[in-house]
Symmetry: C2
Subunit: 338 residues, 2 copies
């Protein structure tokens, strides 16, 4: 065993992201076994126990009106979408550009919405496929409603679970933020995908899917329209991407059938992560083409899921190079077999 | 007061980084007063209380030999540098490039060292200027020793304090990682500085220093050779940069006098942050020109200090756009007056 670990130590690797060209460190010299990544103790989100949960009773706690509501056959609601009471962005339609000496800024114009599912505790890992498909449908629905607004050039849909993942409310919910700028990570993927296509006459994501499907060692779940795998250059332990198998630049153009198959993949992967890591904190988010009126034929939309089993420290903050302590192949095998 | 907050809400801003062009969000609609950022409760680093602290007794706990040791006049040690027992990188000199289908990787060749100060608890905020100058001297000393190694193209020096900042050992220590690749954040600053120079015939950092010195509203501490200020596009609440006032691309060329003045600025700023935020977790790191044999005449080295009063969530991980909840001007005024 000791010897084995020594060998792994020597195998510390720098791996390059196929799309962005960025490097990650797979530092297996510090390796633990996959089962050692399970979370022992989570930081509790402190909530005021005297007050009703905002999200269990949104109509009683001063939330703005629903933008979207899904109902069960019994007449109760199952999912609702409403504006964030404490938005990071305000809704004015005009974007003002400002200057201060050498610096540039603009008004924080945009939309900030919340997607809340009915149950105070059940997360995607515990839902059935139709419930997850409803969430995907709501994401798409709100996306389409906002994508043509004048001030909106990118729409970010994301989910924070647990305090270690930046969550401040324990009731499961996703968020949508629609903003006037294309964010640096997205820009870097768009540029990378464009460059890759120019050099190789092929989509970078399609290239990865083909390789992963054939070799299977990083595949976590595979179905008709979607493949889930731990990326070669994983930034976090047990990171998983869910990617449409056909070349699709635009998330919002998903068909009803695709939404169902995606929901199945999401539910299966989240369940595996839940069981493998013992209800860890996590983030997931959708990366898709901007809605700025331009075409992005070489981008390929996908979902990235990042379990939060470690904290970004000075090295990561300073360099943008992440250090992961398990090989993606070992993480994938462990998740696949659950 | 209520009205004041309402007004601020409308002032949510997107601010652009002068060097990289990246955007941050200053979301003061969620604003707290500066004093409300003080940390109430820190996550404790769990250490084995039966065992002696690795860093108090490095010679007794199987650490490799010192690379550098500073002694007090009384014969005790005051600072020592040794290789990390659990390095993220191994020392082999040859960098092997590998391929797996469409992917590229290389061996994780490099150096990983620890800088440990004598006292188990005293951090820079509590040290005197000469002690801090010794740390700066050790950084420079190790940098110069490693910068010409064949496999080393960038040297990252950083410090993690507290579990929220990714620290796993409470005894104050800094780290040095010397790696074969130039990391994405550094590359983005190098490119940005180069572009800024080409367009404006002036260093981007010198431009900022000039503006900040003149207007003073974001200045935290000012001295002969260094200025400390909260950057216009702060990524974190109470972020502070310490920047040499003259145009200097290379950290390692600092003079003895400059090291003393830097030590004074570091000590003062860390003390202010300690008092303002109540011993928060933080990271700081040095950003300097690569040591890859090329010249970087338009870059300007500096130290970035990031208190960790909030957790990066899905939005930040997905976009690279950070949301800060206090205006840098207000944070700077608060720190300045301490």
């Amino acid at each position: 065993m000791e010897k084995n670990i020594k060998n792994k130590n020597q195998l510390t690797e720098l791996r390059q992201d196929l799309v962005t060209g960025d490097w990650v460190v797979i530092a297996t010299g510090r390796a633990k076994r996959p089962e050692d990544f399970a979370v022992n103790k989570r930081v509790i989100i402190e909530e005021d126990s005297d007050k009703p949960c905002f999200f269990c009773y949104p109509e009683e706690t001063g939330q703005e009106k629903d933008l979207l509501i899904y109902e069960t056959s019994g007449g109760d609601w199952s999912l609702r979408v409403f504006p964030n009471k404490y938005p990071a962005f305000s809704k004015e339609e005009i974007v003002n550009h400002n200057e201060e000496g050498p610096y540039f800024s603009m008004d924080g114009t945009g939309y900030h919405e919340l997607f809340v599912t009915r149950d105070h505790k059940r997360q995607i890992a515990q839902m059935d496929v139709l419930e997850v498909a409803e969430i995907m449908d709501a994401y798409q629905n709100r996306y389409i409603d906002l994508m043509n607004k004048k001030s909106v050039n990118y729409i970010e849909i994301f989910h924070n679970h647990g305090k270690e993942a930046g969550g401040s409310i324990s009731h499961p919910h996703s968020q949508l933020v629609a903003i006037p700028v294309i964010s640096p990570y997205i820009q870097s993927e768009l540029d990378g995908a464009e460059n890759y296509y120019r050099t190789n006459k092929k989509c970078a994501y399609c290239t990865m899917i083909e390789w992963e499907s054939e070799h299977k060692k990083r595949v976590v779940f595979d179905s008709d329209d979607f493949i889930a795998y731990c990326p070669f250059s994983s930034r976090a332990a047990f990171e998983v991407w869910i990617v449409p198998k056909k070349h699709k630049p635009y998330f919002e153009r998903m068909s009803d059938k695709e939404k169902l198959v995606l929901a199945e993949a999401m539910q299966k992967v989240m369940d595996k992560i839940y069981k493998a890591l013992g209800d860890p904190a996590y983030n997931f988010y959708i990366h898709t083409s901007p809605c700025d009126g331009k075409d992005y034929p070489h981008y390929h939309w996908h979902i990235e899921i990042l379990p939060r089993t470690s904290t970004w420290a000075g090295f990561e903050l300073s360099t943008g190079v992440e250090i992961s302590t398990i090989q993606p192949e070992i993480a994938a095998e462990y998740l696949r077999n659950i």
